[in-house]
Assembly symmetry: C2
Homo-oligomer: 173 residues x 2
């Protein structure tokens, strides 16, 4: 199945010049969504995965079914201030300034095997912050998985050294 | 399995006096998360569900696997400005002022059978806004499903007339 057919391109969102990749059209088609999650599952089902780490908020959509299928715990990485208990935090760069991501300190333990899931790899800044969090707790990162990888933004370069998977490669313009 | 044992109570979050129900401890336990999603699935598996409507962002965590298991499309309801294409919008009340939720106009069609999923029913304000969106497109609402229903906040009263399910009832204080 060609999953790219289910992605809607929305020009000039959220601002002029950006070609937004809308995944809601894929999610709303049961067969396409099932195919995407099955492909992700097949990447890791030979391994013992302890935790699936999902990045707020579209990462939750793929991370949740993946954790259930791989019989792993689901760990949420959220924007600052959303997680209620003790957290670890890592900064990432915005166009102007910085923001930070948080993960509960007790959610991943040393030596545990984890995978990281999100919908889209662009510049790789947020994923890099998630890796920083996982390195802090000394987790073993088995792989990083995206539905879409945008070409031409060097996201893959930033995440060098970690097994990186994307189901679709799309041009960013 | 007593799912309430997997919910962490965090006092004074996000502000003094609130007893926050932290579901991340449930999600991070594969058996508990599996049990929760299986219970939700069993509520609806005798019916033909066209769309599962999930409310940002913790609703995505339950809505995504539920949509896959029920072989339904997944529809996202998001906070204002997050969905890229043409949307319908409904307001809900905050402690001070109002905010609004949006759904893509083309995501649910007249007569389609839908279920609504979120993690927590408190006062019911956001869910009421989602129902308003679904009534606008003349969907048939088969049911509304929560992991947790907080007692004493009259959320259920606000959603009267729709089949409402919650896996857990917890005190709000």
């Amino acid at each position: 199945m060609d999953l790219s057919k289910f992605i809607r391109n929305v020009p000039d969102f959220p601002k002029e010049g950006i070609q937004f990749k809308d995944i809601t059209t894929l999610l709303n088609n049961h067969k396409a969504f099932e195919e995407a999650v099955s492909c992700m599952e097949s990447l890791f089902k030979q391994e013992k995965v302890d935790r699936v780490v999902a990045i707020e908020s579209r990462g939750f959509i793929f991370g949740a079914p993946l954790a259930l299928r791989l019989k792993a715990g689901l760990v949420l990485v959220r924007k600052k201030g959303k997680l209620p208990s003790e957290t670890l935090s890592a900064e990432y760069q915005l166009e102007y300034g910085t923001d930070s991501l948080e993960m509960h300190s007790d959610s991943v333990k040393e030596g545990e095997k984890v995978i990281v899931v999100d919908d889209l790899l662009a510049t790789g800044g947020t994923t890099e912050a998630v890796i920083e969090l996982l390195e802090k707790v000394k987790a073993e990162i088995l792989g990083i998985c995206f539905l879409i990888e945008l070409d031409g933004l060097n996201g893959r370069e930033k995440l060098k050294g970690y097994p990186l998977h994307s189901l679709l490669k799309l041009p960013c313009d």
